[in-house]
């Protein structure tokens, strides 16, 4: 299923573009989430056909889907959520201290403080 793989890579690099080109801190956090969604899509496209069933308590083993990428991806999603939670906490702290959501304005204010 090559087109799913190409789509996942395109979404991944859209996320990277968002990190490079936008100076708003919230947009950086959202771009990180976009990159992680692309990773999940990429893993799910391994051995994908439309006739597979759930692998746990399966009666017929030959049409069961490959459970290994599914298990790995649940871990990746959970890690993504905890990273988003920690980053958002830090962002709220930063916003209350400096009053701005722009990377370069935060750096300028930090330099003025010194």
């Amino acid at each position: 299923m090559n087109y799913i793989e190409v789509t996942a890579l395109i979404i991944f690099f859209i996320g990277v573009y968002g990190l490079v080109a936008r100076k708003n801190i919230m947009k950086s956090i959202i771009s990180l989430n976009i990159m992680q969604a692309a990773i999940v899509l990429f893993f799910m496209s391994i051995d994908f056909t439309t006739e597979t069933t759930s692998p746990i308590n399966a009666t017929d083993v030959s049409v069961a889907a490959n459970p290994l990428p599914q298990a790995l991806m649940i871990t990746v999603i959970v890690i993504g959520i905890s990273v988003t939670a920690v980053t958002l906490t830090m962002f709220i702290n930063l916003y209350h201290k400096y009053g701005t959501t722009n990377w370069s304005k935060v750096v300028m204010k930090m330099r003025d403080e010194l």
């Binding site: 308590n57 959970v78 906490t89 209350h96």
Partner: protein, 130 residues
Amino acid sequence: MRRTSRELVSETLKLLYPVIIIFGFYLVIYGHQGPGGGFQGGVVLASSYIIKYIADGKTSLNLKKINYMEKVLYFLLVLFTALIMINSLDLVPVDFRKYVIVVLNILIGFKVCLATLVIFFRFVIYEDVR
């Protein structure tokens, strides 16, 4: 006496809380046979409290106790995994082996529910104090 729109929303949502909680439990318990699982069900369970906060504007949860219980659940979870799953299910009699994953899902569901509540309400209380 006029009722404000906030009370309207709050009274209407009271119909929904049982449905959300039952749906959350369904996702946790039947997670191995369909979409769902411990993590997803836990987040749905937590969302009922979050919706109550958004509708009402105040909360009566005691964050210290929830934090403590979450750590206790985490310890039980890692202990359960370490004892049973790592020794390749030797300690479990053969008839009960298919329920191991259900127990695991329930533990994970409760832990995730408590953890999400702690994260969300720490944001909220921080904003309220300022």
